[in-house]
Structure formats: C-alpha cells, structure tokens
C-alpha cells in the first residue's frame, strides 16, 4: 500500500519511459474499455426508445443520419474493435501463446493495425 513512509525510489516520468508497441496497445485496451463503459447507458437508453414506440424508433434512426453522430459512433466502434482484438490477444497470452517478446510485439502491431483498418473501411462505407 502506498504510504508516506515509503522511501523507495520512484520514477514515473511517462515521457521518458520507453513505450513499446505492446505497452501502447495495452493501455489503449484499458482506455477503450473505459470509453465503452461510458457508452453503456447510451446503448441501453437507445434500446429503450427504439423498442418502446414507433416514434421512439424513428427518433433513434433519425439520430444516425447526422454526420456528427456517425463520427461518434465510428469512434465508439473503433474503441470496441481495439478492445475486442487486444482482448483476444490477451486471452492467447493467458494460454501461453505468443508470450515471447518478438511475437508479442508482432501481435500488438497486428491488433492495432487491424482495428484501424477495419474502422477506416467502415468509415469509408458510412461517411462517403
């Protein structure tokens, strides 16, 4: 537990500590999880409105025609894709697959790039 009596040296300059790709992928996994958590009430509310009545359904569908909403939804889906793919990578690591440094780096890259490519494709289809 952290306490004021702890005199051990501490170095937390995030700007100077080396951040390999697996570190970045991992912290993005956590950040995307947090973002997704914040969208849960919005998801539930959308479901409530869209299932509740014809008017509610039209209202929710109407929101999706706005470009701003489309961009926000794409960002949320990007968070989802990254979280899902990075999560699957972690599951493999749990079972000792891809634990060695070089494979770990490759899969971290793969996960980040795959999420970005998929969302770029979706953005292209939805926005243009």
């Amino acid at each position: 537990m952290s306490s004021n009596n702890n005199k051990r040296p501490k170095y937390l300059n995030l700007l100077k500590i080396r951040m390999p790709v697996s570190a970045v992928t991992s912290i993005l996994h956590r950040l995307s999880g947090l973002i997704l958590f914040l969208t849960i009430p919005v998801l539930i509310y959308s479901l409530q409105k869209s299932l509740g009545s014809e008017a509610g359904y039209q209202q929710i569908v109407g929101y999706f025609s706005s470009p701003l909403v489309k961009i926000i939804v794409l960002l949320v889906i990007w968070a989802l894709l990254h979280h899902l793919l990075a999560g699957i990578r972690f599951l493999f690591i749990d079972f000792d697959i891809g634990v060695d440094k070089s494979t770990a780096f490759k899969t971290a890259w793969l996960v980040s790039v795959a999420a970005a490519v998929i969302i770029a494709f979706m953005a292209w289809k939805v926005l243009l």
Partner: protein
C-alpha cells in the same frame, strides 16, 4: 462494501464474460445481416423471440460483470486515497446494478412468450 472477487475469480469472471460477449456480438451481427430489420415492428419483433430476448439479457449481465472487473481494476490502480476509492467502488456497483435492472425492464416489456 466491495463484493470480493480476488485473483483467479476476477480473472475467470472477466474472461468468461468476454467470451459470451464476443459470441453474442458475432451472433447478433450475423442475425442482422441475414434478417435486417427494416421497421420498428421488425426491430421489436426481433427481441420478442424469447431465445433472442434471454440471450440479450445474458449479454447485458455479462457486460456489466465484465465492466465491473475492468473498472474496478482501474479504480484500484489509479485511485489511491482510500475513502475516495471506497466511494467510487460502491458508486460503480450502484450504477451497474441500476443499469442491469433497467435493461431487464426494457427487455421484459417486449418479450412474447
């Protein structure tokens, strides 16, 4: 009060819920690809099917459990003042339970047994 789930239990809850979430997500994508709902009636009737309705309830149960483990980890890692962390952890529990009850009311209201 925090509902104790240390070590292995939290790990297992997080992984198992993740597997169900992924399976439901893929299933839902396939379903809406094959049978795209075109109207309010289509959309509502999708969730009227008991199998889909119950699978969706389970999806949200899994989601809230999964979110609990994850957010709890974040709070434990980054919130150092004990009282603040205690308050936030309990606030989290309250929020998750409320959302769980909310979604159950919604899905219960459209099911056709």
């Amino acid at each position: 009060m925090t509902w104790r789930a240390h070590g292995m239990r939290a790990w297992l809850l997080q992984r198992l819920s993740a597997c169900y979430l992924a399976a439901y997500f893929i299933g839902f994508l396939v379903l809406t690809f094959i049978c795209t709902p075109e109207s309010y009636i289509d959309w509502r009737d999708t969730f009227a099917y008991p199998a889909i309705n119950i699978a969706t309830v389970l999806f949200f149960v899994a989601l809230l459990i999964h979110a609990w483990v994850g957010i709890r980890d974040i709070l434990i890692d980054y919130v150092h003042p004990t009282m603040l962390r205690f308050i936030l952890l309990n606030g989290l529990m309250l929020a998750l339970l409320s959302m769980g009850i909310w979604i159950m009311f919604i899905l219960f209201s459209v099911i056709k047994l």
